[in-house]
Amino acid sequence: MTKKRALRWTVGFTALLVLTAFFFILELISGTTDLTVSEVFSALSENNSAAHTIVADIRLPRAISAALLGGALSVSGFLLQSFFNNPIAGPYVLGISSGAKLTVALAMMFALQNGIMLNSAAMVGAAFAGSLLSMGAILLLSGKVKNMAQLIVAGVMIGYICSAVTELAVTFADDANIVNLHNWSQGSFSGINMDNVKVIAIIVLAASAAAFLLSKPMSAYQLGESYAKNMGVDLRIFRFALILLSSILSACVTAFAGPVSFVGIAVPHLVKTAFGTAKPIIVIPASFIGGAVFCLMCDLIARMLFAPVELSISTITAVFGAPVVIAAMLSRRSQKRGAV
């Protein structure tokens, strides 16, 4: 069994890495100007061609950010699922993404009105504040509601409230800014430049690595609070770390790509099913890579399906993600009846 499991995991990781490479290359070569793989490579090395601009300034940052932010969303989702012991918890359904969206929109409008350019750090900071705000509301509610479904409903409602306020603010924004803001608030990986990518890479990789280091207490926490405590987990520090990391990760996504739906639930669920385990030490890295694959694929579809018209990323992630969420919910129910 241990050998069988090790084989399954090796195959799983290999498949995920191959898929990442596959979609990553597809992201680089496809678009309104189709390029071959060799053209992409030569475009990267030469400096002043049109192809160089397309690849180096548009497609490459977009592909990297889609991969990194997809990974961030999935890990953030898995952290929240562990925290709430609920497989359908995620940054989007709990309203954490919407909270971030609200504060980023307000910050952007404030900056535009006063003629300031917001830098990446300020965007992430604003998104983080919003994430924590929603998270705080959810935590307050989670103390009151014992039922997991109620918690999700509460999260969805918080999301609606934040979205409504965002829409309200957008309505009163300057005409010139509306288009920009509107696009962003729908969620998209477009318009991310290489400087953004650097910030994204630092935050996402650092936070994901930190999450990976939480694997051990997370596996203890899966047995329930009492056992985790008995195994020597400092619950207060552990919970704080979970909340902090999941908020940072989802805040980073929202700051740069707007709210992206369902990735945080769908990917960890698919990974757990494919790998046949819920061990954080496996699921966290696998979710990260799986999230990258998922978002690269969805972004590709969003760009290519009705090209040159680009769809919002959430449109595609919802199509693929929502059914998985339903599947996750059903598997949770059958588990209660004692079946696998």
Binding site: S215, S219, L223, G224, M231, T277, R332
Partner: protein, 369 residues
Amino acid sequence: MSEMILTAKALSAGYGKKVVVDGLNIGIRTGEILTIIGPNGAGKSTVLKSIASQLPLLGGEVFINDTDITSMSLNDIAKKLSVCFTDRITAEKMTCEDIISTGRYPYTGMLGILSSDDKKIVREAMELTGVAHLADTDIRCISDGQRQTVMLARAIAQEPQVLILDEPTSFLDINNKLRLLTILRELVRTRNIAVVQTLHELDLAQRFSDKILCIAHGKAERTGTPEEIFSGSYISELYGISCGTFDTMFGTAEAQRTEGEPQVFVIGGGGSGIPIYRRLQRRSIPFAAGVIHENDVEYNSAKSLAAELIAEKAFEPISDESFDKALSVMQKCREVICCVQSFGAMNAGNKNLLEKAKSIGIFNNSDEF
């Protein structure tokens, strides 16, 4: 004398600021099983959780090997003390081996990867508890009894000095109850550790504990050996038994007797009358029983269930006085049932009673009375 391993001094246990149990003193030595008994809501689990550092102490101190538990790191406590609860594990996609492996948590490094030694200890814990065949089975796909045993294996894999179990036998059938307690019995001896547990099954508490702690009315009412606790009417008082009686000798309960003028007279002895007493009780028929010796195995049952009992002193033949008393009661009954198959010198009086019943014509000979 083995060494004292866990000591609690003037312990106050409770939730938040509310003290549930106060002024508790406990001392447990290696190789001992301490069982906490007491009525529902008395605070047994609260005490257990406080000892296990699951709840902050509201007062007093807990020591492990003379070290104050509050001065120890969580990881150090985890190496000394492991717990086993009855809460359902909701973890998804975890095999029993995964669950048991978490017992090695305090001993592993940053990422919790098990060394070959750790794996060996996990394997041993599985073999000791007889769950090795479940290693690769999903924890959600096994029976309650198996799950309880797996959780015990997990606690054992943690290699504690004190093992704390909250109602480990609930949900288990009688065979599994006995098996689990036998494992604990062996464990405390062979590994020289101590067990602290709560139990609702008094008969098992009586048979498998070295010490019993009785908790009621917010304090430790009594501590002692099973022989000291299970004596006289103490258990009835502890639980406030009002709808029946408890036999401290056997640890068994009898339902409440039907009071009233006896309608049936049962000639019993040697345990043969017990099924009849219980059947009459279920049918709410008041009955008299006699003549039963005070050292008869069915004396306690008869005393608990019969509306009227005619008893004789232990080891004495049935006296004329007892016979006359029984006869006068019997004559008022509409039916007589005789459960005794053979008569000897000691219960010759009962044989006479049977003859009398036959001559009066109230003897019921059929199997169904």
